[in-house]
Amino acid sequence: MSVKKYGVFIAYSAVVDLRREGLGRHLAAFVRGAAGRDDIRLVLAYPWWLQGALESLFEEEGISFSSFDTLTTKKNPILLSCYNFLRRWKKRRSKDGERHSKLFDLFNRGRSKCIRSFVSTRGAMGFVCYGIACCFLFGLPSLGYFVKKVLGGMKLYRKNGLLSFVKNKLFLSHEELKRDRLVSRIYSLMEEEELSKLVDLVNSREDVQAWYCPTSFWPHFNNVQKPKLTCLPDVVLSDFPIKFAELNSRFSISYDRVKTTLLGGEHFVTYSEYVKWHTLVGKFAHAPEKVHVIRHGASVLNNYLAVDAGKNSRAATESFSRSLMLSALKKSPLKYGREFQNPDVEFLFYASQFRPNKNIYTLLQAFRLLLRSHYRQIKLVLTGTTQALPELGEVIRNLELENDVLCLHGLTTQELAACYNKAQLSVNPTLFEGGFPFTFTESLSVGTPVVMSRIPVVKECITDATLDNVMLFDPYDPVDMANRILWALDNREALFEMQEPLYENMIQRSWKHVVNDHFEVLDQIGIEQY
């Protein structure tokens, strides 16, 4: 049997931990899918700086490096090694911050003791010794200031001078280092050069029939000469430009990269008809036949909770779920949540990062109506952090919902499964997703029904009018959302039963199907080329 070779082009940044990224899991599924086929062998092309991250990812996913070929730039540029060293040092410094603070306390206590001894000493020798020690201990913190002044006097240190500049850059915090414009600029140049080299390597591989790129953030992929397929999950930045710009105006740089990739791309994969037509055909003028819709595989969570205890399995699972729920509550940033004692608390659940398109604002308005107009004694559990979207924290405070809206960030997959399981209802108020939200299968898999936004990607899959009426709401209308939630809470069992057939149907599609669909498209575009 002849073996076809397909390439996967990846160029995540040097600091990414692929195990924590959805795209990492996507890549793992892809590689595993290929490993299970005799007729296909993958070639993974990546810059050398990803070697470590890939090793960790595949080790965690149980995938052997021998199951695919690699194509990489070999060795990192010295500048990147410096950057990595600086980053690790910064990280260590911020971790050491607490220890430093303890040292500082010790220093203060010593200084205080010294001055007490000095003022109370009766011996001449003690007076002199303590005096010198006091001068030293009090003078030490001023030494830096003194040195700066001397250098300033010698015209070697100016506010906007080179020394000041170097000092400022060296003493950036870990987070500041990531955001610093100069550092970013230098990093971009380095990345540019390295990825160009990677593309040269890719173009030298005649044996690879077609190349796949799992995201649209790397315009360099457009320079690959063989048939190429780019995956576009979404261009959410362009659908929520004001909100994202308010979060960080530098999102426009990311958008530019995506735009360049999309304008220069050839064939695309999206997860929904909506992104195909609205974004790639509608906004970027691509021919519809060059855009292939490959839907997600189902994501289920029941296996994370199921405890095999024979006859008592159900009770054991329930007990396990309760303990996980308590552990999830401990992740609340507030003491109120951390010390909450009732794992059987009734709540609505929305698992999502906080981003402008997630529409948490309207969910909060709807929740407020439920609590204060309909007197439903229920909580709302979210999984994002308000640090990601500070204005949401303000809304929660302004609505005085701090003790009823719990933000449990950083949940493990098991804790996530437990939250879904323990929730009265899952609510997904999103305004935009690239594909049908995972909420549906994840929630149903652990026995909890779902209500969702009536948005195009959802409508693509919920074609039954009755189901549409009972489980979808207008995401812009808090009253409609609240009414739908109320109905679902009152008709929980009925809703679950109505959703079950669709769930059963959806879980038939595994990630293996998804990967095979990708290979089919790669086959097709490879043949078209010749």
């Binding site: 362009s238 659908d239 999102f251 426009s252 003028a285 021919a287 209308d477």
Partner: protein
Amino acid sequence: MDKKSNRILWLINHTTLREFEIRQLIELGYEVFVPKSFPYDEGNLSASVSYEFDSRLSIPYSDLEVLNTADWYGDPNDNVWNIANKYFSKIFFAFFPSQLRSVVRNFHGDCILRPFGLAKGVTYSQLIEQELGPSFGTELRRLGERFWFGEAYAHLHEIEDDFLKKRAIHLPVGLKDVEIHDDWVGDEAKIFFVCPRIGSSPYYNRVYQTFVNDFKPMPYVIGGAQPISVPDKKVAGFVSRERYDGFMKGLRVMFYHSQEPNHLHYHPFEAVRCGMPLVFMGGGMLDSLGGHNLPGRCKSIKEARYKIERVLFGDKKLIDSIKNEQTVLLDSMSKKTCAPIWRQGIKRIEQVSSRRQSFPLANQPRIAVMLPVAYRGGSMRAAISLAKMFSVASKLSGKAAEVIFAAPTECLEKDEQILDLKANGIKVRSFSWKKLSWDTAKAALCMEGCVNPPLQQEYIVPDDGVNNFLDCDFWFFISDRVPAPLLPIRKYGMIVYDYLQRYVEGFSVPNNEQQIDIVRRAEFVLATTDFTVKDLQQYAGVEKSKVFKVPMAIPTMKGVGQGGRKESNYFLWPTNVACHKNHVNAMKAILKYYESLGGNLECRVCGVDSQLLLEKNVQIGHVLEARDILNSSQRSRMKVQVLGELSEDEYWRQLRDAKFLWHPAAVDNGTFCVLEAASQMVPSLSSDYPAMREIDEIFGVNMLFCDSTSPSDMSQKLKYMEEHACERVKSLPDVKSLHRYSWESCSQAYWEVINKCL
């Protein structure tokens, strides 16, 4: 090819282009329509009309007639576009902004823009956003594969934004006839320099001045149409074709100045065809056609002067070498070169067009009707009516737009009319204005796809907490009172009621200049009276074509025709505390009415904030003065009763039972109160100003008018109404005739305007 895909609208009137391009299209098997009129402006100096191709068109004569009379450079009406969409599959058009907008919004087939290049440093991407607003770029991109950047020169796309680059297709400029005629005699030792529009275009004026400075001592003739005459005997101005040909034959040499990298004129080619020696500056587009070694090419003005001098002195060797070698320039314009490229280009358009699938996710258009300031009373009622009008009319038209009513939170908390909106299927959202810094605004516009974000220091956006109304396709503002520069991220229109600041001294509008700017940038502006239409043009300076007069629609007529009136002993004065309500004169009139004329009726004052008229701690100048006047008479004070802001039901009850309604305001856009009163069979006494006269004329309310500047006249008319109100009831219009102006009846006129922008 079916009949429709066989037809092209070629909306260009350039004579030389037409001679070449239409023939190309005909040879490729197309029927072509060309416009029969064009604006006689700067951009159309080389334009003409031709009926030559009409006979080939296989469309009904009556439809052709409609197309022939259409204004293709402005905004052809819906009927014209319906015919165009029925019979034609492609449209070619040059860069005329209003034409571009109209084509993009109305034509359903392939839209091929014909760019011929711009001055150095200017791009079409920039111009599109500059002329039509940043949000138009998004509209254009939405055409996707239906749009083509049909560049006349193969490199034009290189400086454009990514979308135009991607949509570029080369359709070269050609000449019908590239045969060398060699008619040139050159017996007149003068330079022929073509430079049109010297007096009207700063660009060409600069070209002219430079030429004169560089070649002053030499003899020359300047050709090219001059819409404004130039006081220079050497400038020939517009000449007949024969005389122009005479210049080509008789003058010794042509000088072509242009070093523009993206634009080329026709006249150098005409010279070459005629056999006239062409001396030209290198570095321009001629280099790309003839290379760098043509004998007529000059690297500097000094070299040009030297070569021209030699030609003028009759240096035969140089003349011959220039003439012999310059013929290469015509090669690129020849049919032999251009036809295959045209064929290939049109084939590509056809291929893409034939495999185009229809967009399966057509969205219902969504319109946000926004009240920019927390108004209550009349403005709120009008806003609610407008939302209902758009909703109802869109459904009737079959487009079924989703209408969102948006207002500041404080308006929505109290107003009972919101329930009415919800009952009409209109969603309601509250919002506040949010400021955006320059870099945030810039980033937002970039992510929206804007190529050249404008550069104001600060912008505002409506914030609904969700997505800043970007889910809506169009924003419609009730009044121009948007409090700061609006981020140009969505197209918007508005209704403007009045410009009181123009007429009422002391009526200051904060940020007046900026509000005017917001009106000017709107896609369209609606007004309900001729008076405001005129103000929009004369005061706000809005382009005429963007201003639409729509019928005054009566927001609500509660209990129409249901009598129930009691014998009343009061008249009703609806007002608020704004100074144009003319409180001082009104109070003086009231004083006279009670003190001198023995007025018997009670005066009941109602309206938003009207209770402030009697509140002691209010320190508004004109309110203080009015209150002092009223308090100076015990009798008057007793007779005037201030009701304040009334609920809807109470307002209608007070109105229904009044003897008459008094509207003593100095000036405004007219008040609906008189119509509401008429619907309750209550006559009105109103100040005499244009908008009220218009209302009287349109609705036949038969108001009694008084002079708002004369308290004496006002008081006498009050007395007159006291005595004759009952008789005047008979002259009120019947309810049916008023119903013709209900919001439901008027909604279509409003919808027609907004629909053009969706």
